[in-house]
Homo-oligomer: 316 residues x 2
């Protein structure tokens, strides 16, 4: 299903409902949202309308650094001022460029990360970090896609990723489209796969990466990282450089979004717990750098101690 957002409000709603999701896509959406706001705003009150739209977009998801990064790029595009027509044109060009860059970034992440996987590797992945989340080739899925192109024996274990089942709904679909061999499992079956020696690498995306290499990603990533470490299996995080927040020294500073308990209490609209049950629904968890083997960005493979370039340097 394609969903068109004709106003910033519709886009914010789509972000809130996770129709637009995944760190890189949120960066694109932020820039697209501001270009949209500029296109629709009348010349009168133009700047005030853009400021209002920026605030709406910034408030749509508290954890995703890419959203903030995308908005900061639009701040820079607005900074020189000029007529509303000029600002509209600059914001539209910026949004298009950020999207194109995302496609190219995916290609590079894929090539860098695939080099870390042995032939016939059995790769476990969690949530969705493919084209539906990132545009282009995705991040974690770009690595899997690149590796599978040269190695049809590659196998992917797809964790279903409760509560919203992005693994089952999105990653399994994308792997099917790509013709990559894969098997779906419930999240808690991962332990047994490790114990039976059936996992050679864990490859996941990231929503936010700290200067020290701590990684915020979909809830359950930390659980997988503990299992991977206990079994001597590498955990590889794949994300564009825009996901790195060098302003955050470590993961303890990352705010964790607590989402609607209904996502846990019902599946596909069907209640799965007694009425009145209380549920906790943290959307993310933080995987400490000690549990991460490598962080792959479009720039290459990063190993500890990490020395990421600040985001400002990336934007130039």
């Amino acid at each position: 299903v394609e969903r068109r957002c004709a106003t910033v409000e519709e886009l914010v709603e789509a972000i809130r409902e996770l129709a637009v999701r995944g760190a890189p896509s949120l960066g694109v959406a932020a820039a697209m949202g501001m270009a949209l706001a500029a296109e629709r705003a009348s010349d009168e009150g133009f700047e005030a309308e853009l400021d209002r739209s920026r605030a709406l977009l910034a408030g749509s998801r508290p954890t995703a650094v890419n959203l903030v990064w995308g908005l900061e790029q639009t701040d820079a595009a607005r900074a020189p001022g000029g007529t509303p027509a000029e600002v509209r044109e600059r914001l539209a060009a910026l949004a298009a460029r950020i999207q194109e860059d995302e496609v190219e970034r995916g290609r590079r992440m894929g090539a860098h990360g695939a080099a870390l996987l042995a032939r016939g590797a059995r790769v476990l992945t969690h949530c969705n970090a493919g084209p539906l989340a990132c545009g282009g080739h995705g991040s974690a899925l770009a690595v899997i896609r690149h590796a599978a192109e040269d190695d049809p024996s590659l196998h992917v274990w797809v964790a279903e990723t409760r509560p919203l089942l992005q693994g089952a709904r999105l990653t399994a679909w994308e792997l099917g489209q790509l013709g990559v061999d894969h098997t779906l499992v419930v999240d808690s079956a991962a332990g047994q796969l490790f114990a039976r020696g059936l996992v050679d690498a864990v490859v996941v995306g990231a929503d936010r990466i700290c200067a020290n290499g701590d990684v915020a990603n979909k809830v359950g990533t930390y659980t997988l990282s503990v299992l991977a470490r206990a079994h001597g299996v590498p955990l590889i995080v794949v994300a564009p450089s825009s996901t790195v927040d060098t302003g955050l020294p470590s993961g303890s500073q990352i705010p964790i979004e607590e989402r609607d308990p209904q996502e846990v209490l019902a599946v596909a609209g069907v209640p799965v717990a007694p009425a009145g049950t209380r549920a906790a629904n943290p959307a993310f968890d933080v995987t400490p750098a000690a549990n991460v083997s490598a962080i792959v960005t479009e720039e290459g493979v990063h190993r500890p101690p990490y020395a990421f370039r600040p985001a400002a340097a990336l934007a130039s």
Copy 2:
């Protein structure tokens, strides 16, 4: 909903569909099933009909040792021979006794296990090991119930337990009935709870316990055991002695039931993955004794090195 099984075939179907489930309940069901078979069998061909029913029951679930244990008790009750009427009476009395014993066992497990929990403990549990699985007070839930009776500040984290959501559907319901404070989480959120220091103990049931203390239980238990160990949190296994299979030296000999992939591919009848997706659905995993802090039975608290009495000694 109450479900009546008027024939052994209906009972076997109920066991296959997990309408009757949980190790202790399966022991009761095996004896009840044989008593039912005897009640319905005509005097002519009586023994052959009982043998046929026994084979049906034995084939209904391959992993549960309690089922086999229950059937062995009925073998002993049949062994002295006699008229069909006499055998019917002995099997009915045996089934009633096994059920009553289960209730008493639950009370004892509850008392022994509750002594291991500190006041105000935050307990994580997985799957369902309560009255619905065990009759009486359950096993893991008997411990929680007993502890909560003296300590209203006890809190239970309920892992939903995909694919069949026994945690959400059954354990949350039972805790609600008992008035015990609890919060439901998706299975993969457990890691974050440990990382944030919110779990003081893991309390789970068991489907099969080996002589060395290895434990087969619902898939995901092993994952929790690795997390518990990594965070220095005790994992307490609670089960009646009939769950201990002293004939099995270690967990590597336990056959793991692979269940219908549809349980993963759909939730409450709603497909959650693209058509044609392959899924693996192991029903159990094996937690090594090294990850288990204590095993609680009706006899008391067992610590390594384990010296369980053989099942034959228990039956006497």
